[in-house]
């Protein structure tokens, strides 16, 4: 079946602009996660949605970052007023309610110039 998809695959933006990154999880997966992979910081957790529960936002680095998940499926990560340090690969993952492992999308490479 279809895996996790993310769009766009690459995004170049100017400093100060807002960007939206999209994630389509595997159909039926109740949990959705966003991670950031950068050279200096490795892989870090950003935010986690589980069903209808309030999201765990504990990994968001600043209030410029936000995410929503509509209808328990698609998620959008929004970064406002982008900074150069936001340049990274943003990975989305999903998992089923009964599963234990997460399945990752190919990522969105964000470059802030």
């Amino acid at each position: 079946g279809a895996g996790v998809s993310q769009s766009p695959s690459n995004k170049v933006t100017e400093k100060g602009k807002d960007v939206e990154l999209r994630c389509d999880p595997i159909s039926g997966h109740t949990a959705l996660y966003w991670y950031r992979q950068s050279l200096g910081q490795g892989l870090e957790f950003l935010i986690y949605f589980q069903g209808n529960s309030a999201p765990d936002k504990s990994g968001l680095p600043s209030d410029r970052f936000s995410a929503e998940r509509t209808g328990g499926s698609v998620s959008t990560l929004t970064i406002q007023r982008t900074q150069q340090e936001d340049s990274a690969v943003y990975l989305c993952a999903s998992s089923s309610n009964s599963g234990t492992e997460q399945y990752f999308g190919p990522g969105t490479r964000l470059t802030v110039t």
Partner: protein
Amino acid sequence: AQSVAQPEDQVNVAEGNPLTVKCTYSVSGNPYLFWYVQYPNRGLQFLLKYITGDNLVKGSYGFEAEFNKSQTSFHLKKPSALVSDSALYFCAVSPLGGTYKYIFGTGTRLKVLA
């Protein structure tokens, strides 16, 4: 603070030789443990996991991992390395098990030499 350590940034091994990629963790309780592999410009692919039971778990592509509770380690192993195994490997821990966020190690680049 909870953490996962991969002490080697890079591991080089000759093709056909056994390989080990090390992972230790500092997480309380009984976490779930995972290994993922990342090829260039790709997302992370699941290799294997330890939840409970037998300390030696087998996964995809001939990889296995050994859980050692006393040493809080979960080293990835393969009896005979292939050039195609060359990639970036990540150890991950889910502190509360089940569907929960991961703590990742910093990654180890494996290079298998022909």
